[in-house]
């Protein structure tokens, strides 16, 4: 019996495939835990949803669709264009500077609930000053690489 247990616990790891050894254990663990979570948490939760006691996350909740998807779209465009514009002026950080000004202004406009002239002007000044300051301090003074 003793030797049976010892041989059961003994293991040898082939160096060639040793990069898969730990991930395989993690996969099994994740699979097992996922099944447990599914059985103990998700299924009762879904049952409560069906009875109308709870609502589904994200899908069943009220959300500000315009601002949420607007934020996602703006951020994606910001990241993409920063690189594109940055390649036009390599090693200057202008890509970051120019695109940031536009991005900060648009995002400010989107997050405003009421647009008064004063607010828009504040946002515009902020959109020009803040990225310029960040660009100057980081790229010029500290020589940090920017797109």
């Amino acid at each position: 019996m003793e030797s049976g247990l010892t041989s059961l616990l003994s293991v040898s790891i082939d160096f060639e495939t040793s990069h898969l050894f730990f991930p395989r254990i993690i996969h099994w663990l994740m699979g097992g835990l996922f099944a447990l979570v599914l059985a103990l948490n998700v299924v009762p939760f879904l049952a409560a949803v069906r009875r109308g006691e709870r609502t589904l996350p994200i899908l069943g909740e009220s959300m500000d669709k315009f601002r949420f998807f607007g934020t996602l779209a703006l951020i994606a465009a910001y990241f993409y264009l920063m690189d594109v514009v940055g390649n036009l002026f390599p090693y200057t950080g202008y890509g970051f500077l120019f695109v940031s000004v536009v991005f900060v202004f648009l995002m400010s406009l989107m997050y405003m609930h009421t647009r008064t002239k004063r607010k828009v002007v504040t946002a515009a000044i902020n959109a020009i000053v803040a990225p310029s300051l960040a660009w100057f301090i980081l790229a010029k003074l500290f020589q940090i690489t920017l797109p």
Binding site: H19, F22, L33, D64, T71, Y111, H113, A127, L138, P147
Partner: protein, 502 residues
């Protein structure tokens, strides 16, 4: 010692003070946390040397935790999760026109909590490091396992907590099994076409900045980015009314809460709210007269704020002695250390004596600066809760980008990592998974693999994890205890709920 003094110059103290100020501002803005302050200001440290960078980061950390009291007292909104219990007594006081008095009580309690925990850190971390220096791979693996179990058992639901932790480990395994750590240098868990981007896996800091920065913005955007508050809603009240006499007879409370905060801070991955809630309930149970608590009693503020500031020193203990972050802010700090070429762990303190003393100086100094800034300028600082979010949020996204892009000297994929993990962080919080275990799993996953596989390669049997040394057995005992604790607590709260339902 003299060497160390030469490292402290004017810039060092200015940076610590600047960090504390910026941290306070971040903390004071609802929805923004100390973690975010550290993450957003990281790019500034790239250009600074190690010691200057540390001064700034520790200032941010202390300031960020403290700043949370401002909206808690004035607006009934905890600025950071850990100031939740400050709202219970702070807001009623502000309603009575005693806002400034309440804030000053908080400030004094905070600085005491911060300094006590710094003292504990100073005495305890080197001891723990010396002890853990003898750990072999087996014990190191078990320490990580213990850390993850403790975090998971502190989660709302242990099963979900463990699952989140394992998910974090899985994410950390993407990339190569690094040759420099004794692996075979092959990639796994990805498609071939991703190899140019993910050869070394996801970088730690972009992941953290994404989860704590971008995800927060997405959550706010979903809620519609509520418009700012008007001047009228803030009742700071007239000055005066504060005297040290408020602390008479409260010394026990102050010291007890500080130690509770320090201890909770030491437990890996346990957020600040646990510390202040525990200190608050203890004060409620143990104090002679707790009838006024919740209606505006300074004793509640003392318990809450001293505990939440004591977290700072506590959370640094496992970070510096074991290399395991005590909370999400120290998780970001671990990234900043790595960036400066420092490996935190048992060898950190013995091998970097100067840095260790410099850190302690920065921590104590940041606490003192925080005290003076907040005690005398609280009226002006309180106004930052009025900064409109439409100005603030775009700037935060911008700083996140700088932080992620510059970290590996200009890799665009790191910026996309921000978005990937921003969205992931949003989804995780939406479906009810836990962020803290996931992050700790992500940070420690890589090391866990090395320790685990190397242990098995050298001993050739799984049983080694149980029989290697007495320490290993003690660690297993602690792991079992934390699981048992969680199960018992779970059953208790279930029974309570059933009782309430009946």
């Amino acid at each position: 010692m003299l060497d160390m003094l030469s490292l402290l110059d004017i810039t060092f103290f200015l940076l610590a003070a600047l960090g504390a100020l910026v941290g306070i501002i971040f903390g004071a803005i609802p929805g923004m946390t100390a973690t975010m302050a550290v993450a957003v200001c990281l790019p500034l440290t790239y250009a600074l040397g190690l010691h200057h960078g540390l001064a700034l980061l520790l200032g941010l950390y202390v300031g960020g935790i403290s700043g949370g009291m401002v909206p808690a007292v004035l607006l009934n909104i905890p600025g950071t999760p850990s100031s939740i219990t400050t709202t219970f007594d702070g807001y009623p006081m502000a309603q009575r026109g005693e806002g400034e008095r309440a804030l000053r009580v908080c400030v004094v309690a905070s600085v005491v909590g911060g300094l006590i925990s710094a003292a504990v850190l100073f005495l305890f971390a080197p001891l723990l490091a010396e002890f853990s220096i003898k750990f072999s791979y087996v014990e190191k693996f078990l320490i990580i396992l213990l850390a993850l179990t403790v975090i998971a058992s502190m989660s709302r639901n242990m099963l979900v907590g463990i699952f989140s932790g394992v998910l974090g480990i899985w994410l950390s395994l993407i990339g190569t099994y690094s040759i420099s750590d004794g692996g075979n240098g092959k990639t796994r868990l990805m498609f071939d076409f991703l190899e140019p981007y993910l050869f070394e896996g996801f970088s730690l800091l972009p992941v953290l900045i994404g989860i704590f920065g971008i995800a927060t913005i997405l959550l706010e955007a979903e809620a519609g980015v509520k418009s700012g508050l008007s001047d009228k809603e803030i009742k700071i009240g007239k000055g005066g009314g504060f005297s040290m006499g408020l602390f008479r007879g409260r010394l026990t409370n102050l010291v007890r809460s500080s130690f509770i905060g320090t201890f909770v801070g030491m437990l890996p991955g346990v957020g600040g709210s646990a510390a202040s809630v525990l200190a608050y309930t203890q004060e409620k149970n143990l104090s002679r007269d707790s009838s006024e608590m919740g209606k505006g009693a300074p004793q509640g503020l003392i318990a809450s704020e001293s505990a939440n500031n004591a977290l700072t020193g506590g959370a640094l203990i496992p970070l510096l002695s074991l290399g395991i972050p005590g909370d999400s802010t120290t998780a970001v700090l671990i990234g900043a250390f790595t960036l400066q070429g420092i490996q935190v762990g048992p060898l950190f303190i013995p091998e970097n004596h100067d840095t260790w003393y410099v850190m302690m100086t920065a921590l104590v100094f940041a606490n003192i600066v925080m005290f003076f800034l907040m005690f005398y300028a609280i009226k002006h600082i309180a106004k930052v809760v009025l900064v409109p979010k439409y100005i603030l949020y775009p700037l935060i996204v911008m700083m996140c980008v700088v932080g992620a892009y510059a970290i590996n000297y200009g890799i665009m994929f790191d910026v996309w990592t921000l978005l990937i993990f921003g969205v992931l962080g949003y989804l995780i919080q939406k479906v009810g998974l836990e962020v803290a275990p996931l992050i700790i799993g992500f940070i420690l996953g890589g090391q866990a693999e090395i320790y685990f596989v190397k242990s098995l390669e050298s001993f050739g049997t799984f049983s080694i994890f149980f029989t290697k040394s007495p320490i290993a057995m003690v660690l297993w005992g602690l792991i079992a205890a934390s699981v048992a604790f969680s199960v018992v607590m779970g059953l208790k709260s279930r029974a309570k709920r059933r009782l309430e339902a009946a």
